[in-house]
């Protein structure tokens, strides 16, 4: 056993007793999976751009609860607030006892996550029930000691005809180096409708793996807006299975890779049943020496006739040294399908910058306004004005501008 594994083994032995008493045998089995398979390296196809095999090197420990009164600033108006601080639920009930998630992921890293999994949002919505308010699940991580880690597992389950909007927001405060994994499993029964807004906003010293598994049942709909605002090394995996006839999904996303960020987004949509619809709509921004990967893979299984699938990726390079690899992939095993995809990469239009400058808007602000214009088609899908403005402000601040979003007006 290598040193890395030895240190992990020690950590597991030390912390297993302190983890929620769910299925200790399963945790141990998961830990063995991790030791057996190790962390994924770039020889694995799905991990071509991201290598975690040497990570983490130092002994690790579970993050400890910290006193933080200041999370009010991330709270959102009109939402049902659930808050986790260093992976401990501190506000809003975390209902139901959690069981370990089953994930369609690399066995080693999934094993690690399952071994240490801490209960996150556990949301069950009953048949025909529509939640009146969005659920805002906010996870805040502080940065007190080097090598701390969190492993939250969230679960959302909508029964037949249920509807909900969930905002899942990760905020990492700047500071010590951290490692975190987070899973989300979503089950949508017949005709259920979930709108998920996921905001990933980690500190620049955080390495993070996120995995989301979604099952979309008959005539159910999964609508996602994912916003990646960075970290040190972020790997974000999405597996959406359209398992019932007429299931549909729209995955919209926006990512902003500023200096020294490594951001790897892997989306996989699996059309298993007929009459499924999937739309992917992504906008990427490269701000500085950074690397972003966006892989959008669509598989249409033999039985998935009448599938309608579209992928659109557009990237905007805002600085030298930015690299964005955008790859739409299609694998079609059915003959009666409609599939389209396209990816583009460009820069800000000089004429548009000049237009704004002739109106007196300084160049920095002009570029920020045009960047806002570029991402607006994703932003406008965020059905919470306060959050939308906050994200717009945060992204355009990366360009050094301070825009007046109060004057946006109603864009609908």
């Amino acid at each position: 056993m290598s040193d890395i594994h030895a240190s992990w083994g020690e950590a597991f032995a030390r912390f297993a007793g302190g983890l929620p008493a769910v299925d200790h045998a399963a945790r141990s089995a998961a830990f063995d999976e991790f030791i057996q398979h190790g962390m994924p390296d770039d020889a694995i196809e799905r991990w071509h751009y991201t290598d975690l095999s040497a990570f983490p090197k130092k002994p690790v420990q579970l993050a400890t609860a910290a006193a933080l009164g200041g999370y009010a600033r991330w709270q959102l108006s009109g939402c049902d607030e659930r808050i986790w601080l260093n992976a401990r639920n501190v506000a809003g009930a975390s209902s139901a006892t959690a069981s370990l998630p089953s994930l369609d992921a690399h066995a080693g890293i999934a094993g690690l996550h399952r071994a240490f999994a801490q209960p996150g949002l556990q949301l069950d919505v009953g048949p025909g029930t529509a939640l009146a308010r969005p659920v805002h699940a906010l996870t805040v991580t502080t940065a007190d000691a080097d090598g701390e880690m969190t492993h939250l597992a969230h679960r959302i389950s909508l029964a037949r005809g249920a509807a909900a909007t969930v905002i899942l927001q990760n905020v990492g405060l700047p500071g010590a180096t951290r490692f975190s994994t987070q899973s989300l499993t979503v089950e949508l029964a017949e005709q259920a409708q979930l709108t998920l807004i996921r905001v990933q906003d980690e500190s620049r010293s955080t390495t993070q793996w996120l995995q989301t598994d979604v099952n979309v049942g008959r005539d159910a709909r999964f609508q996602l807006v994912n916003v990646d605002l960075g970290g040190k090394l972020i790997r974000n995996d999405w597996r959406v299975k359209l398992t019932g006839p007429g299931a549909s999904t729209e995955l919209a996303g926006l990512f902003a890779a500023d200096a020294r960020v490594h951001l790897d987004n892997q989306y996989e949509i699996d059309h298993i049943a007929p009459h499924g619809t999937s739309h992917q709509y992504f906008r990427g921004l490269g701000f500085g020496p950074s690397k972003a990967v966006l892989n959008g893979r669509v598989v249409v299984r033999p039985g998935a006739q009448k599938t309608d699938s579209e992928q659109r990726i557009a990237n905007l390079m805002l600085a030298k040294g930015a690299e964005i690899d955008a790859k739409p992939e299609l694998e079609i095993y059915a003959d009666d399908v409609k599939c389209a995809h396209g990816a583009s990469c460009g820069q800000l239009d000089d004429t548009a910058v000049f237009y704004l400058r002739t109106r007196g808007v300084p160049e920095t602000q002009a570029r920020a306004l045009l960047t806002y214009s570029f991402i607006n088609s994703v932003l406008e899908r965020i059905a919470h004005a306060g959050l939308r403005t906050r994200i717009a402000r945060q992204v355009t601040a990366l360009l050094g501008a301070d825009l007046d979003f109060d004057a946006i007006g109603d864009l609908s």
Partner: protein
């Protein structure tokens, strides 16, 4: 008395292509000048060079505005000091509302001039007043800048921006092209409303039609990068009749 705008022997090129080749023009406060001329003569180039476009290189000559050489001034500084250019092809900025755009422009100009920001309510009232003057639907304020606007609506929006910003020197590049008869009247009214002893307007146009509504004091012909003929309003009518061929030799 110093002229509002004084251009002397202006040479400008883009890439290796010299487009303005020794252009002279002087515009006094209170005056309206029309510039006509064949396609490709350099009219839009002149407009953009005045507004501060950086892709054109001024190789020689001077542009003095309010007595000052503005060679070193950025487009945004020129705008703050009162130079406005109406674009021949206005740009679409989807998702950035006209309101946000106008507010960004007005406040940036005020900041550059060392004036305080306008209070939100005053600003809204001011913009609404101008929208009404341009007979536009106030709902346009929450739409993206020129997003999905027709050609004529875009031109009307240029004049709205001008009315909101209240510049001193207005350079309107073919603002009349693409307008229907009613819109031409509204746009002309907008231009006339800005007429004052301190302001001046340069109208780049291909048609006498606009000049029936906005009476110019001077008409110039720009051909091959220079002003080749200047006269009064009658020159425009003469051009309408005879075209530019007879001037080419000059």
């Amino acid at each position: 008395m110093t002229k509002l705008l004084e251009i002397e022997n202006l040479h400008a090129r883009i890439g290796d292509n010299e487009i303005l080749k020794g252009l002279d023009l002087s515009v006094g406060a209170g005056e309206i000048h029309a510039i006509m001329g064949p396609n490709g003569a350099g009219k839009s180039t002149l407009s953009k060079v005045l507004a501060g476009a950086e892709d054109y290189v001024v190789t020689s000559g001077t542009i003095r505005y309010q007595g000052q050489d503005i060679a070193e001034q950025s487009a945004e500084q020129r705008a703050a000091h009162g130079i406005f250019m109406g674009f021949q092809y206005p740009v679409e900025i989807p998702g950035v509302s006209n309101m946000m755009f106008l507010k960004a422009a007005v406040n940036a100009q005020r900041k550059e001039r060392g004036e305080p920001e306008m209070a939100a309510n005053d600003f809204l009232a001011w913009v609404r007043h101008r929208v009404k003057q341009m007979k536009m639907d106030p709902a346009m304020l929450s739409r993206g800048v020129n997003q999905g606007f027709s050609g004529g609506e875009k031109k009307r929006n240029e004049i709205l921006q001008m009315l909101v910003l209240e510049p001193k020197l207005m350079v309107l590049d073919e603002t009349d092209s693409g307008l229907d008869i009613d819109a031409l009247k509204i746009v002309s009214d907008g231009i006339n409303a800005m007429r004052s002893p301190e302001r001046a307007t340069i109208l780049v146009t291909h048609y006498q039609r606009l000049l029936d509504y906005v009476q110019p004091d001077f008409v110039h012909v720009l051909a091959a990068g220079r002003i080749v003929k200047s006269g009064g309003p009658e020159l425009a009518r003469e051009l309408e009749e005879k075209g530019y061929g007879w001037l080419q030799a000059a």
